[in-house]
Amino acid sequence: MLDGFIDGPQVKPVDEEGIKVIEKQPIKSSDQRRKDEAAIRTVGIRKSFGHLQALRGVDLELRSREILALVGDNGAGKSTLAKIICGAYTKDSGDLYLWGEKIDVQSIQHAYSLGVYTVYQDLSLAPDLTVADNLFLGREILLPGLRGRLGMLDRQRMRAETREALAHIGIGLKSFGALTRALSGGERQALAVARAVTWAKTALLMDEPTASLGVHQSAIVYKTMRGAADHGLAVMVISHDIPRMLQVADQIAVMRQGIVVETMRARDATLQKVISLMLAGKGGNDEQ
């Protein structure tokens, strides 16, 4: 079913602004149906926590090569939906499709195996590990031969590949042996994004990825996001920064009270319309 998957990080030359991106192996031409299928599609997803109905039937499509910004007020259900897609929560009902095939994501690990990766609001890095160890945690490169069979790590290769992967998204490190604890909060977030971009094969989910970042580091993250989409990933980003989402996203999906009230192309959206949908569930006039 997933035979056309893109694999592992590959090197691509710098783009016009000097920022490299992670290149994925191209989607196989034989898998034409992917051009038409959504990478991820949710149909009528429902989720309750006790008496609280967090999701009341969510229909949404994440398409390959597109950035979808999921916006909505607090409590609209954005994070719950992301957690269902990434396997952190199980849905009560509704269907989830990956490339048109119905799947039940059992766990975060299952989602990883399907190529769906998430950057969390709270950082998912181990502060006492080096940058390279963090990037490869769970997917370590082992030495060849007997030493590899004994589980010995090829740290030289891990560091070299980390150097390349980070360079592609505009992060240069002088020392890859440095502990992640020594990085600033923003730098760690950039590393977390780099890690997700490196390993995601189908979709990249980001929950407020730039909340703790400065202007320039946010710009790097958005650049990374676009690079990931350009190379075949479906990117979903949850953000309260609607003006910026209107700039960087291809699609805007507005959630309110547990449902997606409208999905529109970003170029057709206005700030006022999105806010009206968020607050009242219906679009205002299109004058900004």
Binding site: S124, A126, L129, L137, L173, E187, A190, A219, R226, L246
Partner: protein, 359 residues
């Protein structure tokens, strides 16, 4: 609205090298490590006692080897404890695990080595079989108790401090019930002559060699393997490790089994060195092992396990005790000295973490 919004985001080349982490030289890293400073403390203590002791007997290689030999049993437990602490857990039951494992091993050894009457007469008709069974029982029973600790922590979700505080009492109680509080007698002297008191080339005690070999193997594992990386990842951030696909419960279970097995092996050291068990001793072994590990640079908060440091940390109380005895000062002062060093080591660790967080 601009049709090419991404192009509006200016990420100039000057921001490409936005993360500038000081690239410390290897020498600087070594000097800043707690393990280095604990080595300095050990060397200073040896030199001080060497100068102060009558006839400078502390400088004699035989004295130093005896010190290391006396620390060998604790060394084995301390390196295992460093792993567990590195993964953010601890095991208070290792001391009573040693007592129970050695009691079971002694009973099994005797049961296989000959009849009770033969054992009483000091005759061992199946000595080799008895020793093999004894060694296996010590290590396997120790591992089993480690497994039980791990299951309580990972399945019942009980904090490892409480879980192993409970099993500490359970294991001790079981050992006392089995032994009626008495040390096992009738252990073949061949264990002492053939191993416990035997020296390689007549110089290095074999138990010390075993302890150092285990330390080296565990150091290689923590420093170079996936198992070691996962251990520290779990200690550093359980959530991060879980999200990376590491089965943290299975891994922690392995670590508890590892320390349990090492405690079983340490229990065997009682038999090979003293030809008896010590049901009244070992109650403070867990705390001493934690002390040794933390002194050596292992973090109480997980994420850092210093194996070489744990081995050096084991030596500090032994050096203090031996030196004070030779100088005819009360050996109890070693407790005060060790306590001060422990607090100092943790203080340094906290300061270092604080500095790193601010960097």
């Amino acid at each position: 609205m601009n049709n090419d919004p991404i192009s509006q985001i200016q990420v100039s080349q000057k921001h490409v090298s936005s993360i500038e982490v000081r690239d410390e030289s290897r020498a600087l890293k070594v000097i800043k490590s707690t393990t280095f400073w604990i080595l300095v403390v050990v060397v200073v203590m040896v030199v001080a006692f060497g100068v102060l002791t009558p006839n400078h007997v502390f400088f004699l290689p035989s004295t130093l080897l005896t010190v290391a030999f006396n620390g060998s049993q604790m060394m084995i437990v301390a390196v295992g404890m460093a792993y567990l602490l590195g993964a953010g857990e601890l095991d208070l039951s290792v001391g009573t695990n040693i007592i129970l494992s050695s009691t079971l091993a002694a009973k099994a050894l005797k049961a296989f080595a000959g009849t009770p009457e033969q054992i009483m007469r000091g005759e061992y008709t199946h000595l080799t079989a008895g020793i093999i069974v004894g060694v296996l029982v010590a290590i396997l029973s120790g591992s089993l108790f480690g497994l039980l600790n791990g299951l309580i922590v990972t399945r019942l979700r009980i904090n490892s401090f409480i879980a192993t505080l409970g099993t500490m009492m359970m294991y001790w109680g079981t050992a006392l019930v089995l032994s009626q509080g008495a040390a096992e007698v009738g252990i073949p002297r061949a264990l002492q002559t053939g191993f416990g008191h035997k020296k390689l080339l007549g110089i290095v005690p074999l138990p010390l060699l075993v302890a150092v070999a285990i330390g080296l193997i565990l150091w290689v594992i923590i420093a170079t393997t996936r198992f070691g990386l996962h251990t520290l990842a779990i200690g550093s951030s359980k959530e991060s490790a879980r999200r990376s696909g590491i089965d943290i419960d299975a891994h922690r279970l392995k670590l508890f089994i590892l320390l349990g097995g090492l405690a079983g092996l340490a229990g065997l050291f009682d038999l090979v060195r003293f030809a008896t068990t010590n049901p009244a001793g070992h109650q403070t072994d867990a705390l001493l092992a934690i002390t040794a590990a933390v002194l050596g640079g292992t973090s109480m908060w997980g994420g850092i396990a210093a194996i070489g440091g744990a081995m050096l940390g084991t030596l500090i109380p032994v050096i203090l005790q031996t030196g004070l005895v030779i100088m005819e000062i009360g050996a109890f002062y070693q407790l005060i000295g060790t306590g001060i060093l422990l607090i100092g080591a943790v203080y340094m660790d906290q300061r270092k973490r604080g500095r790193d967080a601010e960097a």
